[in-house]
């Protein structure tokens, strides 16, 4: 056991013993790219699913030793505890600037950010837009749950009209508080945006599609043709004041009406052909 693993296991809230699996057939495992740390995310929170599919993608692409993640302020700032890769924590809103700095000096590493809506679409709007406008060869994973999770439930730039939060207790009034920002549509207009898609993770089917999108977003870094942007519309049971099951209804009935799922911008056929060539070469 490595020194680091020992250290992590000693931290509070961690699994301290291996479960006894004698006599069971193992059909489901956490990815190898995960540490043994128990997640701090609330029960039913979409972050854990998003982390898991990201971990699976990194494992399946075989890039655990070649990837650097950037986790800025927000619930996901502790992502480095869970995914066993190199990480940089970033100041609130600055993940894409940090990722730019990393990718520019280490172009051969895969670099991604994992950001929430307050981070990416409020305090970090300038960094987000300019990173994508430069077409930085990084992958942005954007977790949109319409609320500030870590600071416990304040209004986010993506909170829906009428949504009650701790700083919009009477509901978001778009006349005075602005309208929820559709970031994917906004940034898809930038020539530097190579691939823009909006996904979800609150059902197995959605999670499979989101996983594919993250995988593509990372694979496209082999081309160096621009920024990949994967928005994931998800929930926040604690701050929406709902049970996890109620949040699924809310996502389906409210969030997805305003934030429709699907690809907003796709790579050209030529680009995909070029990628196929590169990957054919990798196999050899």
């Amino acid at each position: 056991m490595s020194e680091e693993k020992e250290k992590i296991v000693e931290a509070p809230g961690c699994l301290t013993a291996e479960p006894d699996l004698e006599g069971y057939e193992l059909v489901y495992e956490k990815p190898d790219t995960f540490t043994d740390v128990r997640m701090h995310y609330c029960p039913g929170c979409g972050h854990s699913t998003a982390h898991k599919i990201l971990g699976e993608v990194i494992q399946e692409l075989g890039i655990q030793n070649n990837i650097i993640g950037v986790a800025p302020v927000g619930c996901s700032v502790f992502a480095y505890d869970y995914l066993d890769i190199d990480w940089q924590e970033a100041a609130h809103g600055r993940a894409t600037a940090v990722a730019t700095g990393i990718k520019r000096v280490r172009p051969d590493n895969y670099v991604f950010t994992y950001q929430g809506d307050g981070d990416l679409a409020a305090i970090g709007t300038a960094e987000t837009i300019h990173c994508i406008n430069r077409g930085e060869n990084v992958t942005i994973i954007f977790i949109n749950n319409g609320v500030y999770g870590m600071t416990s439930g304040q209004m986010a730039p993506t909170s829906l009209a009428g949504m009650k939060t701790t700083t919009s207790p009477y509901g978001r009034d778009i006349k005075t508080m602005g309208s929820p920002i559709k970031v994917s549509e906004l940034i898809a207009n930038l020539p530097g945006a190579f691939y823009v898609t909006r996904q979800a993770v609150h059902s197995a089917n959605y999670a499979r599609k989101a996983k594919k999108a993250i995988m593509n977003g990372l694979r496209y870094q082999k081309l160096g043709l621009g920024t990949s942007f994967i928005e994931i519309v998800t929930n926040c049971p604690s701050n929406w004041k709902m049970t996890p099951l109620q949040t699924i209804d809310f996502i389906n009935n409210e969030m997805l009406h305003y934030y429709p799922l699907g690809d907003v911008k796709l790579p050209s056929k030529e680009a995909l052909d070029a990628l196929a060539e590169i990957e054919k070469g990798e196999k050899k």
């Binding site: 066993d84 924590e89 100041a91 600037a97 990722a99 700095g101 990393i102 520019r104 300038a126």
Partner: protein, 352 residues
Amino acid sequence: MEQDIRLMKGNEAMAEAAIQAGIDAYFGYPITPQSEVPEYLSREMPSRGGVFLQAESEVASINMVYGAAGAGARVMTSSSSPGYSLMQEGVSYIACAQLPCLLVNVNRGGPGLGTIQPSQGDYFQATKGGGHGDYRLIVLAPSSVQEMADFVFLGFELAEKYRTPVLMLSDGAIGQMMEKVVFNHKPLPKTEKPWATTGKKEGKHRSIITSLFIQPEVMEKVNIELNKKYAEISKNEVRLEEIHTEDAEYIIVAYGLSARISHKTVELARAKGIKAGLVRPITLYPYPYDRIGELANKAKKMMTMELNAGQMVEDVRLAVNGKIPVGHYGRLGGIIPSPEEVLENFEKFIKE
């Protein structure tokens, strides 16, 4: 051996030195009076190697520095007062994450948008914090175009030795004026950075660059570790220049541009029979408290000359610790006093 001697602006000399010091990347944003730096580097770096990137703001550039330094690159940024203020959040993160890098503030007059003329109004910001939290920067104060070049090398050497950000605090005059500058610096060797994020290689401990230590016990441990480092820096890295201090009764303490003016003032005073001397702190952090305190045992009075309302004078008072009177003379708003004007006020202070 033929020497590489050039006539250059301070900002350009610094930019040239940065390339010669082997920077991997520069991230910056235009602001007067330091725009020559990004202009020079954007012109030179494409053919001489390294990344030049004009960021969308100083907020972005300092965070690009964070990312690149965290990934093991030799990296710098430069700005001037209002822009450097914008960077303070990132500087605090960089200090806590212990990332070596070089920051440059070509000080102009403030507060606010202020003036584009030279000033030393950012002394407090440079030496007493700037950003939030308990941290220090090594602060180097050049007083010539030559030193703007030299301190790039010294800055990176110290930054990498102590794994800490280094700030060069220049000003609009030193940055803008042209002087002879000699480039004869020894190449800076690349330092090992096993802590850098380069991908979690086989057998390599994974690297996490962070300034987040949410458990108080862990945060305190980091604070203590940082302060141990600052104590080490204070012990080893104090730098200053002294002129005519061996028998000085009246001493001017000044750094950067003010030290140049005060040097002349001291010569004028000596010509009039006043036993005057000059102390020029080269490192503003760590500050030469011990030496100034020692000089106060023999001198009768000390005065700082600063292009501000009296900032470094507080450190001189700390160093002198009440032994002798300490005064201040300064001009504000970007006005530069002549040596004669300083002498007049120095004499007034002596007679008080």
